[in-house]
Symmetry: C2
Subunit: 215 residues, 2 copies
DNA sequence: TTTAAATGTATATAATTTTTTCAAATACTA
DNA sequence: TAGTATTTGAAAAAATTATATACATTTAAA
């Protein structure tokens, strides 16, 4: 797939939401859904939903709609959720522990093999049977355990150093919670969770509410 | 400001990043910056940066560029960071504690007055001098303490109930970490941090790397 | 004093994203 | 079974967003 045909990032970012709603429908035992109903649920327009899905194939049927289980399954495959990933977390503070404790990630195939920290008080402790190791052992651990995804929950001062170790160790993707833009090789995928930026955006809209509500 | 003149959301979401980089420059003691240099730092084009800033006024000077301190200050004002906000967190698990422990939010003017939970084992404990209270006291606490922002770090099953309490109590904005889309009145600002969606997006790009790298 | 650098602003162009439209297929009802 | 309503997929149109260009004006620096 060349640049012309690749699916735009805005579309990709909507897929997890579709996936989530379809999962909820599945749980409720609903096995058929139309783009119009999905529109009501998700807030996206029906035509946008149809177009988004058609980037990956025709999963629906005219006059019928979509089979919930099938579409959920296909979206899971598209998002790569049919595989499992070995991950590690560097930064075993509250945020690292919060991520480690969230069982939802493991259910989706993201296995957290270990936490790492440089604080001696934390090293050796366990979070849900996941051991906290010395960050000095990070590189070796990654290489020996086929770790694909590295999670960064350190203060921003250490984030780039950890990213460097990740890249050196052969990690393929970084999930970064530190408020910094990491510099890495082009072929490393970075996904940022910038809590600061999210909170500041909320603050902006609070102060400019009238411009955006009901317009 | 009507719909025609309001600033687009894509612009708004870039402001916190400008603000962050300017803060870093300020710390380094750099007091002058050009759009071209900002472009190199942020990855946005110089003309886009100039256009973004000009949505709010002409903060620069021909032949000179921008005064770092002044621009940082102005962006802070635009983002509403020149005020302080009273906030509360419902959900005192790891994630709630992580947010409560992050001093950066307080430095930016977001004061966390209290955490709330329904788990008796947590109620009464303190995180950095912030008390964990029974969620039954939430509504009264909000009304008595002029709380403007409500943070939700509960499991998704409870998120909507908490949102309802928030709205009923007069909260103006919700920062939601639960993987759910909350239904609230139109004039309530919601900012979501959907970690699941972020991780799944990372997963997608890992599996379709070749389409997006160097194209 | 002259030259280089830089913004602000308008305009043009390109790229991207969303909406509209409608033929074709299916489901449903009488 | 026939007729009607529903629904997708796909193409085209429209709208939005991003980028580039141009240049008068201002400042800095040589």
């Amino acid at each position: 797939m060349d640049k012309e045909n690749r699916v735009s990032i805005t579309v990709i970012r909507r897929l997890p939401k579709y996936y989530r709603y379809l999962g909820e429908l599945l749980k409720k035992g609903i096995n058929r859904i139309s783009s119009q109903e999905l529109s009501k649920m998700t807030g996206f327009t029906a035509s946008q939903i149809r177009q988004d899905l058609n980037n990956f194939g025709g999963f629906g049927q005219q006059g019928y709609g979509y089979n919930v289980e099938e579409l959920h399954h296909q979206l899971g495959k598209i998002l790569g959720l049919d595989k499992t990933y070995n991950t590690v977390i560097v930064g075993a503070g509250n945020l690292g522990q919060a991520v480690a404790n969230y069982k939802g990630f493991e259910d989706a195939g993201f296995k957290i093999l270990s936490l790492f920290d440089k604080n001696p008080k934390l090293i050796g402790l366990k979070i849900r049977d996941i051991e906290i190791r010395d960050v000095d052992e990070l590189e070796e651990f990654i290489k020996e355990n086929d770790v694909e995804i590295g999670i960064i929950t350190t203060p921003k001062e250490n984030a780039q150093d950890i990213a460097d170790i990740y890249v050196r160790s052969g990690i393929k993707g970084i999930w970064n919670f530190a408020p910094a833009d990491l510099k890495v090789d082009d072929d490393i995928i970075i996904e940022n969770v910038h809590l600061n930026e999210s909170l500041f955006t909320l603050s902006y809209f609070l102060n400019n509410k009238s411009d955006y509500v009901r317009n």
